[in-house]
Structure formats: C-alpha cells, structure tokens
C-alpha cells in the first residue's frame, strides 16, 4: 500500500476544499471499504481527508421525515428508535449488513459509495473496465455467479453491494450533498448510475462532493416495510438477492407499493413495472408472481448467475406475502 498524506478537517466546507485542492485526494470516513481498496491496489489516493470529526453524525426525526447525517454509523442508525419504529426496512437492511464490528465503524455516506465486490475489480492484476477504463470485463465470460442480471452493459455487469441503498431506494430517500459549487440534493432513484459506456463512474457525485445527509420522507406506510436478504451463509455476507418492500394496503388491495432489489442489478434496483402490476390490484400470490415476471422481463442471465432470475421472483413472493399477511 502506497504512503499517503493525511488531512484531518473540522468543517464540511473545509473538507470539500481539501479534496478539491489536494491531487488524488479522497474523503475517509470509517475506512472499512476505502482502506481495503487501497491495500488491494484497486484504488490509489495521494491524500486522505479525514472527515470523522465533522459534525454530521446526528439523526433527527421531524414531521417531514428522518434526516440521517452522512457520518452516522450503521449501528447508530440501526439502533435509532424512530428508524426501528417507523422505517423497519432500514433497520433490517442495516442489521443484515456486514458484521457488528464493521457496522460500528462504517458510515451511511461511505456505505452508499462503497465499491463493487466483483473479484476482478478487486484484483489489481486482472483487467476491469470499472477499475481501469477500457481494459475489458473478464466477468462477462468468466466467473459471474455474483453478478447482475439487470442494468448491465457489455462493459460491466458488477452488482452494487449496498443493502442500505436498496432500503433507501424503496423509501424514496434523498441524498444531500455539499460540493465546491454549494449544496444540492439528489433522489436515491438516480443517485447510482448504470455502467453503460462508463462503468468507472458509480454515482452522480461530482469531484470533491461530500454526502452531508440522507433524508427519508415521513410516510406512515413505511411502518409496513421489510427487508429480505438471501446469502450464501447465515450472516456477514453480501446479498445474493435482496428485496426491500414498503406496502400500503386498503382492505385486500394494494394502495401503494415500493419495491427495491439488491444483488441482481448493477445499481440498487427499483422496478416501476413490478410496482405497476400490483398497485390497485388485490394482493394475491398470483399478482405478486406477475409482478416478479415484470421485474425480470429484461433480465440478461450469464453463465453462472441465471438462478438469480428465479430466486428474486421467489424472494419477492416470500417477502410480500409475509408483509401482506398472505401466509
């Protein structure tokens, strides 16, 4: 691992300035992803700007919704009373993430910006378009059991690994940013980018932009929300397939539903098609199965990941029928 300069900062604006000025600089929050990437040679930075002292770790709960500071730790958010009571899908997604040790360190901002777990991306000696643009994508013809069936391109099919992002997407959250040109906010739906021609760009974040907060709009319906994560061992593992659902029923009909998926797509994946199938319809296993088929209509399975197409549909049935009291 290459030696790097260390720049501690106290104010958000100072942090932004520091990253803008120092060449090859990056923010470091919990460091749980960044340091591994640097050790593996997947990412290089001349300077790390330590943002841990910024006053951006609080969680505030108001009638408008929940405002989670960009430096709030995963554990802190998962344990927050309002999160547990009003947004269970969020608490569940966080508690199903990583390990207690990692959750103690890892921040909300860092979580949204963590990079893919694609093995080729993290092996500096392999080609990879996301790491080294134009070098190729060995996953297309290589080992792709963990890779995306939706949202990929012929340049990259890597999955975005965040569980939190999937839950936030289902909750219509908004990401607050502070950049050299001042603050702005971006909806979660659109924050992460599909690889397209430029797989090295994961998000809409501009250079030196800092995540200051994530805002989750208050909706009573979010009380009926849940996260289902399927993985290859019981805990401490990324999703093979995950589903976040927020469901509002009127009688046996679906008044509103928001569905987001992890493990199957290059970004946290919202499916308007699947939601449209269910919205206004009676909630039945048959309707959920139709929604599942709508979800995967465009799926492009590869050599090892075809099972995800079937699995995500079953996971959807499992989650929604539980949430809707069908079983």
């Amino acid at each position: 691992m290459r030696a790097f300069g260390y720049i501690p900062v106290r104010e958000p604006a100072e942090a932004v300035r520091a990253v803008r000025r120092a060449p090859g600089a990056a923010f470091i929050a919990g460091g749980t992803d960044l340091l591994n990437l640097m050790r593996d040679g997947a990412q290089r930075h001349e300077h790390l700007v330590d943002i841990n002292r910024l006053d951006l770790a609080s969680i505030t709960d108001s009638t408008r919704g929940l405002r989670i500071g960009g430096l709030a730790r995963m554990r802190q958010v998962a344990e927050h009373r309002s999160v547990r009571e009003n947004f269970p899908v969020l608490a569940e997604a966080l508690e199903a993430s990583a390990s207690p040790q990692v959750r103690n360190m890892a921040t909300i901002g860092g979580n949204l910006l963590q990079r893919t777990r694609c093995g080729y991306f993290r092996d500096a000696a392999s080609p990879c378009n996301k790491r080294t643009p134009g070098s190729g994508c060995p996953a297309l013809e290589g080992w792709n059991r963990g890779h995306a069936v939706l949202g990929g391109s012929e340049h990259c099919i890597a999955v975005h690994p965040s569980d939190l992002a999937v839950a936030l997407l289902a909750l219509d959250a908004v990401v607050h940013l502070l950049g050299p040109d001042g603050p702005r906010h971006v909806p979660m739906d659109g924050f992460h980018l599909r690889p397209g021609q430029a797989p090295h760009v994961d998000t809409v974040l501009r250079p030196a932009e800092l995540i200051t907060a994530v805002e989750v709009p208050r909706r009573t319906t979010a009380v009926r929300s849940r996260y289902l994560k399927l993985r290859d061992r019981a805990t401490f593992e990324f999703a093979v397939v995950s589903v976040a659902a927020v469901l509002e029923l009127r009688g046996d009909r679906v008044r509103d539903v928001r569905l987001a998926f992890g493990g199957i797509a290059t970004t946290p994946w919202r499916s308007p098609e699947a939601e449209a199938v269910l919205r206004g319809a009676p909630l039945t296993v048959d309707a959920i199965e139709r929604a599942g088929r709508a979800l995967v209509r465009e799926a492009v399975p590869r050599r090892h990941n075809g099972f995800k197409v079937a699995l995500v549909q079953r996971a959807l049935v499992e989650l929604l029928s539980g949430l809707g009291g069908l079983r």
Binding site: Y120, G142, A315
Partner: protein
C-alpha cells in the same frame, strides 16, 4: 495416586497466554536489524518471464534489495514434504499465477509491499488450463506418491460388478478449497555465518529443517527452526513452501535477517490446497445391501511440475467389508498451484463413498445405519489381519441414540416445519493416522529441577490442538506431580526429536516417549530418595515408593513421605531422563448424525442439530478432543455448503482470494454439537491407549449433510458445495 489427569477435561495450559497475547507466534517478536520481505508474484499462469525492471522499486524509500532469478543462487529442489516440484526464482518459467518472480527487501513492511507493486515484469504468456473440465488431455495415472500405489486391486471387481444383484453408478465432483488458517504463513530467517535460525509457522520444525537442509545443501545440525505457537495449520503448514526457501535465500544474499509474511491473497497460490476432484463410483451389492464390488476412478488436479495425489481413496479401499475392489486414482495437470494435504485428505473421496451408500440404502429400502452395519468389518481389508480395538459399531449405536435416529421419517420430503423441509442424514467417519518415522526415534526429555518442578522438552508442535496440555497431563501423571508443576517446552528443532504435527500423528507419537521419559525421571528421583539417609524414605525398596501431588510416599505407610523439592534440593542439582517409543499407524472412527432444514422456496440450507460418537482409543482430554469435533463439524459444514475456490477460466487466477469472498462458516452457520466418545484404550497403542484422532471428525460431515438434504427434499446434490442455486 495422582488423581489421574489423563482423560480429564483439563483446560488448556496455554489458554491464558493465548487470550492475553502472552503467547508469541513466529512473526510476533521483532528481530533486531531485520528487513521485511514481500514477494512479487506472477500475473500470468503459464509462460515465461521475459524481462524484469526493478529500477523504480529500488528507488522507493527504504528498499534495500530486489532479487530475481538473476540474483538467487541455484538451490536443490527438495522432495516431499516440499510439494511444488520446482523452486521459483531459479529460472524464467511460470507455472501458475501468483508464483513468486521477485522478492523485495525493505526497512518496513509497507515499503516492501509498495515497492513490490513497482516491479515491472514482462511475460510471454500462454493460455492456461484452470479446471478439470477444461483440460485438453485425458486423465492419467501418475507414479506412486510416497510409495503408495495409485491403483488398488482386490478380487475381481469387474466381474463382481456384472454379477451383482444390484448396481449403482454415480459421479461426484468437488471444487478446490483452501485451508485458510487464521494466522498467515510467516518466515523469519537469520544467518549467523553458516548457521541458520528460522522462526517459521510450521507444523513440523524438524520437517522444515530437513527441507531447508536439502535446498541449501547444509547439514541439518546447522539449522534451527522454531514454532512455539501456531495459529492453525490444517495441513497448510505441514509441507514447506517456496516462500520459506526464498526468504532464507534472500537473508543470505542481503546479509541481514529477513521476515516475510504472506498476504491472505498469496496464501491462495503459495501454500497448497485441496485439489479439485471428480469421482466415478460403481457399486455392486446384494439385495440385502452387502457390498460385492467397489469400482472407483477418481480424477484430481495435478500440475505440470508435481503429480502427487493427496485426495486419497483410503475409505473406499479399507472402510467396509468388500472382497472385490478396484480403485484408480488419476489426475490431470492444470496451470494452477500444486495441491497438498488438507484436513482430512480422505474427506473428498469419502464424501462420494458415504453418499453412494446413502443412495444405495434408499434403492434397497435398508436403513443407512443398518446398511453400514451389514458391511462392517473387523478385518483390515488390505492385510487380512484382525483390527484390534475397533468400536465403530458402538459409535453408530451411541450417536444414533443420542440423535433419536429411530424416529426418522421413512420417506424423503415427508417432514415440514413451517417453511422448511426437515431432513436427517448420517455418515461414517474414518481417518488413517500416521506414525512417526522410526529413525531418528521420537524422544522426550524430562528434567526435574531443584525447585521440585519438571520441564518437559520435545520438538513437537501445538498447532492449536492442545499438545501443550495433553503432554503436560501425561508427564504430570507419570511423575506424580500437579499439572502446574510441569512446563512443556516444544516447537524448537534444537529439542529432542519429534516428527511433524500432521496426519493426526502428534499425540499418538509423542505420548509414549513423554510418558517413558517422565517415568524414568520419577524413578531416578525415587532412587535418590531411598538412597539418601536424610530422606524419610531412606532404605525403602524403590518399588514400594509411589508418587503423587509432588510427593513421594511409602506405598503402605503414607506418613513416610518426601517431596520432589526436598529430594532434589538435597541432591543439589537437576535430574534428567529421556524416553523413546515408536508408534504404529492406524485408524480412528466415528459416526455423525445431523439434521438440516431446507427452505421450501428459497433453497437455504441450515444445519440445525448434530450428534457424533468417536472411537479414538483412550480419550486423553475430553475438552481438547471435543474441540477437534467442533472444528471438524464446522469445517464439514463449510465443505458441504460454501467453501469453494474460484479460478478464472481464461487467466487461471483465483477470483476470490480473501475471506470476504471465500466463505467459511460463521457462528450462525454452526449449531450446537452433542459429542460422545467410546473411550476404550486401544490395546495396540503405545500412547497410553490413545490413537491419532484430530482429523477424524469432518470426514463424514459433508456426506451426512448431503444425505440429510436428500431426506429433506428428495434432491440429491452430487456436486459440492450444495448452494441454493442447486436446490431451487
């Protein structure tokens, strides 16, 4: 007399040191003046190094040297237990991705690592072959490895198969797996003229010494290897690997001590693994389930430089009574690193045998335990000799009763609990343990000092299994001292000779010598006492003196007593004795019964209940023995359900060389285990009735899980690991 420490669940004598950090592992202590080494490894899997530019690396701060094949002296490729067939940095050929092509020495680890990134290597690359399925040439049968044939023939298996009332033909497959001990491999090499000291993460200090002696053409006496503690080995630290040799060579070139620690990723290419494996099994049987023919052909991954087969078919050959057996162990060379022994080498082929018996049991409608009973043998299938002290039938009885096997649902897929199918499965466990070589003999030394305490010295190892504890129990019992009066000193080749801690050979091979040395020391002290007019025991015949709790007593008049401390104090110096005793190889056995729950729609598999019973001769320490069972069950769960090294088909590079993507079980994957032991001394043992045991638990676990998954769902998965995609 002493309350018998042997057999009691004594807690680890080194436990406190380990959890407080007082135990120093081979890479823990700083060595004054040592440089830190880091290996530059090949990006390509097959071809040749055509150029190396070290200038940028050499210019990096702190870098002292970068050595390539142009710098290293020519070394001799040692035979087993060096299992690579070549030493890197001796030429330009590249045999696998991750092969060392240069070694960087720098003042700090970080400098060495970064400079390693700066070494530019140009290759002429050829397309590699990474898996058995992609091999272009057909499998072949290699030369015998360690004098063991790859073909075993008994009776006429082909004819018996044709004539069999019932035939079963099945194929099983299993991927590469890596040992992944938590402690990375580390070497610290220090030359002092032509004397060499090596602190090594070694399962065998003497084995390491002999390999280095061959590689460097040195008399073994000039080499000292130390490994007082080990953070897990599982076979990965049994052989000596190339990084050890390269570190020693670099230290000599640099004229300074060098420490090198492998990265986790490097452990996936530089330290061996369980080879990828295919198994074609044909079974002939009577309608009652008596085996009449076993025909097995296995295919293991080999390399172009080394053709040893480690995934042995011992179980097929010896576990059950069958007159007609034909086994062929074949292999195909691939362009990946050499495989090696991994706890337990039999497990891979044993999975096929124990799964096939389950398949046969369903076909015949015979309970799988009953099927195994009908094929039980009391005779060594290879030699025809009676096996003394084999209690496998007791294992079936004890474990099945503990588990409640008699309540098993008679059909697959018949039991559902909520969203999950519940299934029960069982398998036999069996393991061949090794004997220490007869020459030089394994020897222990016991010294009783003027303080009345004993020091036990022997060049064995504690690889985490509890050697320190068990040999202290043995010596304390033999001396008649409390446990804390005995200090064991091990893990140093300068101590009296012992062999490698592999093949479950440690306790079986060191207990006899330790017991003998301690008894001799005790006898010497008794002799001193009875000859000493100042002793209350003066004049008592030596055989009328007994010892216990650090004291010497007259056997009939316990008021006449002396103490070790008093006797040695008067004597004015220590008393030392040594002991040697050979041991023989043999088998340990067991039975594992377990329950799985398989989610009906999502295919998730959980192991929820396990009961085991083992026959290992005398149980020296129930606590450390149980530790082996827990570890074995956990490994078995990993083996069956998740562990899997992935190679890219095109580059033959490991795609998951880390513990984030090479999954091993976590606590939530591992249920409580109810472990039982038959605990009857083996009459042929020279180790106080004990046999080698450590690797026995695990052997049956993967098959028991697969069998339980079948019972739960009616789905037979013959390709490991059993991941949910195979069950949807």
């Amino acid at each position: 007399m002493n309350g018998g420490l042997v057999g009691r669940p004594v807690s680890r004598v080194d436990g406190r040191a380990k959890v407080t950090g007082a135990a120093r592992y081979p890479a823990d202590d700083p060595v004054p003046g040592a440089l830190h080494g880091f290996l530059v490894t090949s990006a390509v899997a097959r071809g040749e190094v055509v150029g190396i530019d070290t200038s940028e690396a050499l210019a990096h701060p702190g870098v002292v040297a970068v050595y390539t094949h142009l710098d290293l002296p020519r070394l001799t490729v040692p035979p087993f237990p060096y299992c690579k067939g070549f030493i890197p940095l001796q030429g330009t050929a590249v045999h696998h991705a991750g092969q060392p092509v240069a070694i960087v020495l720098a003042a700090t680890v970080e400098q060495a690592q970064e400079a390693a990134n700066l070494v530019r290597v140009d290759y002429r690359a050829e397309p590699p072959t990474a898996s058995i399925d992609d091999a272009t040439e057909p499998p072949h049968m290699p030369r015998p490895f360690r004098d063991r044939p790859n073909e075993i023939t008994r009776g006429d298996a082909a004819e018996a198969l044709v004539a069999a009332e019932v035939r079963l033909e099945v194929r099983y497959s299993s991927p590469t797996r890596h040992h992944n001990p938590i402690e990375p491999h580390a070497t610290t090499a220090q030359w002092d003229g032509d004397r060499l000291t090596v602190h090594e993460t070694a399962q065998g200090v003497n084995l390491t010494r002999s390999v280095l002696a061959v590689a460097f053409g040195l008399p073994p006496e000039r080499i000292r290897v130390l490994a007082p503690f080990l953070g897990g080995g599982f076979g990965a630290k049994g052989p000596v690997w190339s990084h050890t040799i390269l570190t020693v060579a670099a230290a000599r070139l640099a004229g300074r001590p060098v420490r090198l620690v492998l990265s986790r990723a490097q452990m996936f290419t530089l330290t061996g693994h369980r080879a990828e494996f295919r198994q074609h099994l044909r079974i002939g049987a009577t309608r009652q389930g008596k085996l009449t023919a076993l025909v097995e052909t296995t295919t293991a991954q080999l390399t172009r430089t080394e053709e040893s087969i480690f995934n042995e078919s011992d179980s097929t050959s010896t576990l059950y009574d069958c007159p007609n057996v034909h086994i062929r162990q074949e292999g195909v060379p691939l362009d990946i690193a050499t495989s090696s022994y991994m706890r337990s080498p039999e497990t891979t082929a044993h999975f096929g045998l124990e799964t096939a018996l389950d398949e046969l049991s369903w076909e015949l409608g015979v309970d799988p335990v009953e099927l195994r009973r009908r094929n039980h043998t009391a005779v060594n299938q290879e030699t025809g000799a009676m096996i003394r002290g084999k209690h496998l039938l007791d294992c079936y009885r004890i474990a099945s009763e503990a588990f409640g096997w008699s309540r098993r649902a008679p059909r697959p897929g018949a039991t559902k609990d909520g969203d999950e199918y519940v299934g029960w499965g069982m398998a036999t466990e069996a393991h061949t343990f090794a004997a220490a070589p007869a020459n030089p003999p394994v020897t222990a030394s016991v010294t009783v000092g003027a303080d009345g305490r004993a020091v036990l010295r022997i060049a064995t190892q504690d690889i985490g299994t509890g050697t320190y504890t068990v040999i202290s129990q043995v010596a304390a019992d033999a001396l008649g001292m409390p446990l804390d009066a005995v200090t064991a000193v091990i893990g140093d080749s300068a101590l009296p000779f012992a062999s490698v801690s592999a093949g479950s050979a440690t306790i079986a091979s060191v207990t006899g010598p330790v017991d003998k040395a301690a008894r001799s020391a005790r006898d010497a002290v008794v002799a001193l006492a009875v000859a000493d007019q100042r002793s209350p025991l003066a004049g008592v015949p030596a055989d009328e003196v007994v010892t216990g709790h650090g004291h010497l007593f007259h056997v009939r008049d316990r008021a006449r007593r002396d103490s070790y401390r008093a006797v040695l104090g008067r004597h004015g110096g220590p008393v030392e004795a040594t002991g040697s005793l050979p041991n023989a190889p043999g088998h340990s056995y067991g039975a594992v019964f377990l329950e799985v729950r398989v989610h009906a729609r999502l295919g998730s598999v959980r192991v929820t209940r396990v009961a085991t019973a083992h026959d290992m001769g005398r149980v020296m320490n129930r606590r450390t023995a149980r530790g082996q069972v827990l570890g074995g069950v956990t490994w078995g769960i990993g083996h069956a359900l998740m562990e899997h090294t992935v190679y890219d088909r095109h580059t033959a590079r490991v795609v998951n060389p880390n513990l984030s993507t090479y999954l091993v079980p976590v606590c939530a994957d591992t249920p409580a285990v109810e472990s039982h032991f038959v605990d009857r001394p083996d009459p042929g043992s020279t180790a106080l009735g004990a046999r080698g045991f450590g690797e026995t638990p695990i052997t049956g676990v993967p098959a028991a899980i697969g069998n339980a998954v079948y019972h739960a769902t009616g789905r037979r998965v013959r390709d490991l690991p059993i991941t949910r995609d195979k069950l949807l």
